[in-house]
């Protein structure tokens, strides 16, 4: 059933009795033309574009839990294209363009809201760095506006402009940046892939990767073996374990990132605000909750929850920036497993095994990448060649020195 306004009205009149499940619950076949391991945002979008752009529809997504139960449903939903380095820029620029057409493309309301993202700066040096970044963004064809202190005050009057430690000198506004409803992105891609014939198989954990004479031949799963000549590993924080099934060690260390949401409040924060010096960022969800977070806890973890020191740090940073939030009650906090690469940038590449591909290393920033990652991974799996906008996301770039160190902090897992 197509989703549209008429259907909504009609279903209202007939007591909502006509809605069908958004996707099928198929039994896995014994063989497919391609298998995607991982039913997160990236796995689902890969399957969708394999079917849509490359005509492969005898394919399956194997998800060990439920669709969207991983990071795609745990992130703070920021979507932006304000990257600086060639290699990252064109990729995220492509992704943002896909976001802008996503709802029509998927026939699904992903609540993409381009409310504008403001990155604050607090010194002349930081301002110069943002001017440079803004110019790079504009040169790429994206948008960036430099705001002075008064310009920021106009948009964000509730910040503390008197604090001495991090005086607000201005900000870089990225008007096309914003947020989207994270679960809806997973559900939208799932439904659209299903409609193109993709089998979405939940509760199906991949436990082994079959390789014969250097070629992938299929996978072992908790629902039995499934054959396929092409397999994509798209499992985010679990990439280390799945790659190990193919005898690989990845340049990835999994860390925990926490996030927080308050009780629902009336509209008060209209933008996404990033306070980099305090390791704090915030936006308000459409339900009214203030959604915010900070840095990684900074140690290897699969616990999908963090520790109290980072909770305290994030709360302190929030209070420093906008004391008005002090009375809001935090409802929940949670954590996700972040696949950190040494340079903080992702990997979409072939592996040493013929027919086996990897899409990982999204660090804490892979939600915005969901459309372009699927687009490029599908291109790679279908054609065997990296997509032009993802050509720098190579698996061996740490050995060759072709790093994509966006923050310039060094090639080490815990520095990003």
């Amino acid at each position: 059933m197509r989703y549209n306004g008429l259907n909504v009205i009609w279903q209202g009149l007939v007591g909502n009795t006509g809605w069908k499940p958004a996707w099928r619950t198929p039994v896995p076949k014994s063989a497919y033309d391609a298998i995607i391991i991982g039913g997160g945002g990236h796995g689902l979008s890969t399957a969708y574009y394999l079917a849509k752009n490359h005509g492969l529809n005898n394919i399956a997504v194997l998800e060990k839990g439920y669709l969207g139960g991983g990071n795609v449903g745990r992130n703070t939903t920021i979507v932006r294209a304000n990257y600086f380095l060639p290699g990252n820029q064109e990729f995220y620029s492509h992704s943002l363009k896909l976001w802008e057409g996503l709802e029509a493309e998927l026939n699904y309301n992903v609540m993409h809201s381009q409310r504008g993202l403001v990155n604050l700066f607090h010194s002349d040096g930081q301002r110069d760095a943002f001017v440079r970044r803004g110019n790079a963004m504009a040169a790429q064809g994206d948008d960036a506006v430099l705001l002075d202190r008064e310009g920021v005050r106009e948009l964000l009057p509730y910040l503390d402009y008197d604090q001495a430690r991090f005086p607000i000198h201005g900000g870089l506004l990225h008007p096309r940046g914003g947020t989207a409803r994270h679960d809806a992105v997973a559900w939208g891609y799932a439904r659209a892939a299903d409609r193109r014939g993709v089998d979405l198989i939940q509760n199906c954990e991949v436990t082994g990767i079959d390789i014969e004479a250097g070629r992938v031949t299929g996978v072992q799963t908790t629902q039995g073996p499934i054959r396929a000549p092409k397999v994509g590993m798209v499992v985010a924080g679990r990439s280390g374990q799945v790659a190990a099934m193919a005898g690989m060690r990845l340049p990835v260390e999994s860390h925990v990132l926490q996030a927080f949401v308050t009780e629902g409040l009336k509209p008060v924060i209209d933008h996404v605000i990033s306070f980099g010096m305090g390791h704090f960022y915030i936006s308000q969800s459409d339900k009214g909750g203030l959604v915010f977070g900070g840095d990684l806890d900074f140690y290897a973890s699969y616990a999908a929850r963090g520790n109290l020191p980072m909770v305290e740090h994030v709360m302190e940073a929030g209070m420093t920036l906008m004391p008005m939030i002090g009375r809001a009650k935090v409802l929940r906090s949670w954590g996700g497993i972040m696949d950190m690469t040494p340079d903080g940038s992702p990997i979409i590449d072939r592996t040493h095994v013929e027919g086996l591909f990897v899409d990982c290393g999204w660090n804490y920033g892979g939600f915005k990448a969901v459309p372009a990652s699927g687009w490029c991974m599908a291109h790679l799996m279908a054609t065997g060649e990296p997509h032009p906008v993802a050509r720098r996301f190579r698996l061996n770039r740490f050995a060759t020195g072709d790093l994509l160190d966006e923050e310039g902090t060094g090639s080490q897992h815990n520095l990003h």
């Binding site: 920021i78 980099g276 977070g293 050995a399 090639s411 080490q412 815990n414």
Partner: protein, 110 residues
């Protein structure tokens, strides 16, 4: 999370700087090839479960410590001085750079 420093006892996690997997102790020998250096610096087992990693008691006694932890529960199981690991397990290999770890830089939104 509390970490036991062999010299100072059980201390708040905030006193420690996390460096990375204990792989950093197995520094390739002089003249080792590119692959060995790539593996040493970048490639990780990244285990879900028991792991050994290096922590620096920055706000304490300045010792480098090898901590055995469970990455799925954050339980800290044991710890020993890197100096002791070196002489016990890794003859002839040098410890990570002893200089103080650089302060963390700012980051943007996620």
């Amino acid at each position: 999370m509390r970490i036991t420093c062999p010299l100072c006892g059980s201390r708040d996690r905030r006193e420690f700087y996390y460096y990375g997997a204990a792989d950093y102790l197995a520094r390739p020998a002089e003249g080792a090839g590119l692959e060995a250096w790539d593996a040493y610096l970048h490639l990780r087992d990244n285990p879900a479960g028991m792991t050994k990693d290096l922590w620096y008691h920055e706000a304490g006694c300045s010792a480098w410590i090898e901590v055995t932890r469970d990455t799925t529960s954050h339980a800290v199981l044991s710890s020993r001085l890197v100096a002791a690991v070196e002489s016990a397990d890794l003859p002839g290999r040098s410890a990570p750079a002893r200089k103080k770890a650089a302060p963390r830089k700012k980051k943007g939104t996620s």
